[in-house]
């Protein structure tokens, strides 16, 4: 649609016309601000924990597990050098054989969600599927943060007050 608009503007005498082809979805998926009536509604990217532990495929599980516990977490996101999400380690995986590599222990290809998803949708999905935490990523798979179900529920309760 934007392509047709760009061509039409050019035909009307506008000399410098650009087409942002990836559009509003790309903008929102990157967690950038928008304006409008939805602005006041909290979204996944806003309350996702940006300090969630991360690790690499070749890390030793025991080392990661110790580091995660020491920082008060019970999950870690497996990423590559570009912070693209490759897997997830939840409590069960973190308790596995400490000498194995993360790539053998992790849950590969976890469900990820975009930062603009409204909290009520996240709450519904996480409760229905019994998901305690979910990686929030940009459209190209880079980690924004880890969303905790308890944070979602607390934020929704606060919003209702």
């Amino acid at each position: 649609m934007s392509s047709r608009a760009a061509w039409r503007l050019e035909s009307l005498g506008f000399g410098e016309v650009y087409d942002y082809v990836d559009g509003k979805l790309d903008w929102m998926a990157a967690g950038l601000a928008t304006e409008g009536t939805n602005t006041g509604h909290q979204r996944a990217g806003e309350i996702a924990r940006k300090d969630a532990p991360v690790c690499g495929l070749k890390d030793r599980l025991g080392d990661v597990s110790e580091r995660v516990k020491a920082s008060g977490w019970n999950a870690a996101v497996v990423v590559n050098d570009d912070r693209v999400v490759l897997g997830l380690l939840r409590s069960k995986e973190l308790a596995g054989d400490p000498d194995q590599l993360v790539e053998k222990a992790m849950r590969p290809g976890p469900s990820t969600f975009r930062p603009f998803v409204p909290l009520h949708e996240m709450a519904h999905f996480m409760i229905e599927h019994k998901i305690e935490n979910a990686p929030i990523t940009t459209s190209d798979g880079r980690l924004v943060g880890l969303l905790l179900q308890e944070d979602v529920i607390q934020a929704m309760k606060k919003a209702k007050q």
Binding site: S2, A5, F14, Y20
Partner: protein
């Protein structure tokens, strides 16, 4: 010929004074739009573009995605 650009280029051009135009229906614009964007639905371009936009400045159009 309109030039296709990415997110970084949008930010740079807007910072330099480009006009940002959402061409989706107004109901979708009202809920969410890029900061500073004006709404000019595709079907209204012919009738309203000259009135709403400055022909001497760059214009960036967008919708939801490339679909």
């Amino acid at each position: 010929m309109p030039k296709e650009i990415d997110r970084d280029e949008v930010r740079r051009l807007v910072g330099a004074g480009a006009q940002l135009v959402e061409v989706l229906p107004s109901s979708e614009y009202i809920e969410d739009h890029l900061p500073g964007a004006i709404n000019l639905p595709l079907r209204q371009i012919e009738a309203r573009a000259i009135e709403l936009l400055d022909r001497t400045r760059p214009v960036i159009v967008y919708c939801w995605d490339s679909a």
